[in-house]
């Protein structure tokens, strides 16, 4: 009776660590969390497989070289593909300079002013505005008020405003990552603020800015909603030749074919999705390539 016992053995009712049960709950939770993570990835795989299965047999050179047609066997995405390229080019020309300039102003020129925090808060809110609302803005301002009509330019201006917050935020991050010693060195040699920015900060930040811009553009290429509102849906048989021509883009062509009651067009939609995904994959690979090259240099 006088032998000393560990406290838990002397009075088991007082403390019960239930180690086995807790370990079991822990293991179950670990598995559950892993499954949740894996589920998203499995669905991604199923989605890609399903679309590849539906679209594979419709993939052909004709799909890319033919124009839209009311016959599924002759229909292609050439006007939509060229329209998407136009849209990308014009959107870049508008959003890139505006976005980079805004980011440079915020990071290098504004100082810590109230105006700066106001602009930043505004940009953060713009990033959360639904894309279709940008479409409504584009319809009222670019299509009707500025009388650009349902043109490439009106669509590109709309998309440029849509991705502007993303370009600005990505460019700001890239500029922030440039070490301050670079700026101080340039100032010490007598450079002005613009010379410092133009010749020292900007070149170092450029790969990061480009990565962010490409990712933002890949979002723009996949967007359909704002362009439907701006009026890109019209049946387009011809390739746009100037920024004032009517247009359609790949996501909208896909949407048209999905909405078609004739199911033979669904295969075409799936095949076009494969083309669109390949297009986006190339853009993302370019962004990753740029980022890796950049991080190796530092």
């Amino acid at each position: 009776m006088s032998t000393p016992h560990p406290s838990s053995q002397r009075d088991p009712s007082r403390f019960n660590p239930r180690l086995k049960a807790r370990a079991r709950i822990g293991a179950a939770f670990h598995v559950a969390c892993f499954l949740a993570t894996a589920l998203g990835i499995v669905v991604l795989g199923v989605l890609l497989f399903d679309i590849a299965r539906d679209g594979w047999s419709h993939l052909s050179i004709g799909l890319i070289t033919n124009s839209a047609s009311y016959m599924a066997s002759r229909a292609g995405i050439k006007p939509a593909l060229v329209g998407s390229l136009w849209m990308m080019a014009v959107t870049t020309l508008i959003a890139f300079p505006l976005g980079v300039a805004t980011a440079i102003w915020l990071e290098e020129y504004s100082g810590e002013s109230r105006w700066k925090s106001f602009v930043e808060m505004n940009i953060a809110n713009l990033a959360g505005v639904p894309s279709i609302v940008y479409g409504i803005l584009g319809l009222a301002v670019f299509v009707h008020f500025m009388s650009l009509g349902r043109s490439v330019l009106a669509g590109a201006l709309t998309l440029a405003l849509l991705i502007l917050p993303v370009v600005i935020i990505a460019s700001q991050e890239a500029i922030k990552a440039v070490p301050n010693s670079i700026r101080l060195g340039a100032y010490a040699l007598g450079a002005t603020r613009w010379e410092t920015t133009r010749f020292h900060v900007f070149p170092l930040a450029l790969p990061g800015i480009l990565t962010g811009t490409i990712l933002a553009l890949s979002r723009a290429v996949g967007e359909a909603a704002p362009l439907i509102v701006v009026g890109a849906l019209a049946y387009v048989a011809f390739v746009p030749m100037s920024p004032l021509d009517t247009f359609t883009v790949m996501p909208i062509q896909i949407f048209n074919w999905i909405s078609d009651a004739r199911t033979e067009f669904h295969g075409l939609a799936a095949a076009s999705i494969l083309v669109l995904l390949a297009f986006l994959l190339t853009m993302n690979a370019a962004a990753i390539f740029l980022r890796n090259r950049y991080s190796r240099k530092n």
């Binding site: 989605l47 399903d50 805004t102 020129y109 602009v119 959360g128 409504i136 996949g222």
Partner: protein, 310 residues
């Protein structure tokens, strides 16, 4: 000769200084102008939505719009009650949330607490691919894959239904929940976890009773943002949920959301200036206000209720 030269050099240098100063102030002004574009965008959105909505509300009383239960602007005898569209949006967003919030949170816990660095380096980017897939692609998947699957189990399901759009949208917003929540969990200091371990907690207890509560403000903010994103999503619901304004809470029926209505009207040719044209601005204003409020709310949650460490 020598003096002349140096005077020449001095005035050259002086001119260059003036020129550089001029460039400097010119560039500063141009950059400032560029930064104003983002402000103009916000103002443009608000002004455009308000102006056309005010014109709309001259014809349709605000109360009829907000409380009416029938939405049929294209019919002979038009009704302008937005409730069917609003419940359609909310129903789908909530169902999408029911899919995305638990899965996204569990994925965030896994990535932040359980995954080894190498597994994380693979899983996280692959998961984020989900957020980069164009929404028409999700729409196609919902209509041609998920809806037939639901019909296998529930044959009464309509071809266009809220359920399949919501499930697919839920999958789409998982990365939004998981990456924002994971950021919040990563910000929880190691010492808190070590303290819990020192008291004998298991890994599950550390995750569920220490890390998640400490990161709660960030997690809730990510939930609100994800739901707001779901309310603003257009293509999935336009393709898979149908075009029938329908006041119902049955997810197996087709419903039309606010965004799908806007897309539907602008697909057809609503004449500029007609009342049908104005409806998209009234519905757009409501959509804009809802998403803006939710985004602001998530910001408030993040700021007000953040546990500050360090």
């Amino acid at each position: 000769m020598q003096a002349e030269k140096s005077a020449q050099a001095r005035s050259d240098a002086g001119r260059r200084v003036v020129r550089r100063h001029r460039t400097e102030s010119f560039v500063g002004a141009v950059l400032l102008l560029c930064s104003i574009v983002s402000i103009l965008t916000t103002m443009g959105i608000v002004v455009v939505l308000l102006m056309e909505s005010v014109a709309f509300f001259r014809d349709v009383p605000v109360f009829e719009f907000l409380l009416g239960t029938r939405w049929s602007p294209q019919f002979q005898n038009p009704h302008y009650g937005v409730l069917p569209l609003l419940t359609g949006s909310v129903l789908i967003a909530l169902l999408a949330g029911a899919v995305a919030l638990p899965l996204g949170l569990a994925a965030a816990v896994y990535l932040s607490e359980y995954a080894r660095p190498r597994a994380r380096a693979v899983l996280k980017p692959v998961l984020e691919v989900l957020a980069g897939i164009p929404t028409v692609v999700y729409g196609y998947f919902a209509l041609t894959f998920v809806t037939p699957m639901i019909k296998v189990f529930l044959p009464a399901t309509e071809t266009y239904n809220a359920m399949s759009a919501a499930i697919v949208m839920g999958i789409m917003i998982i990365p939004m929940v998981s990456s924002l929540s994971e950021d919040a969990m990563n910000a929880v200091p190691r010492s808190l976890r070590e303290g819990a371990y020192a008291l004998g907690a298991t890994k599950f207890e550390v995750a569920s009773r220490t890390v998640v509560p400490a990161a709660l403000s960030g997690i809730i903010a990510s939930f609100i943002l994800a739901i707001s994103r779901a309310i603003g999503e257009t293509m999935i619901v336009t393709i898979a949920a149908g075009a029938k304004a329908n006041l119902t809470l049955n997810p197996l029926e087709g419903v039309q959301t606010m965004t799908a209505y806007i897309a539907q009207v602008t697909t057809g040719e609503a004449p500029h200036g007609s009342i049908e044209y104005k409806t998209i601005f009234a519905v757009g204003l409501l959509l804009f206000m809802i998403t803006l409020l939710m985004n602001l709310l998530s910001n408030v949650v993040l700021r007000r209720f953040r546990e500050v460490y360090e």
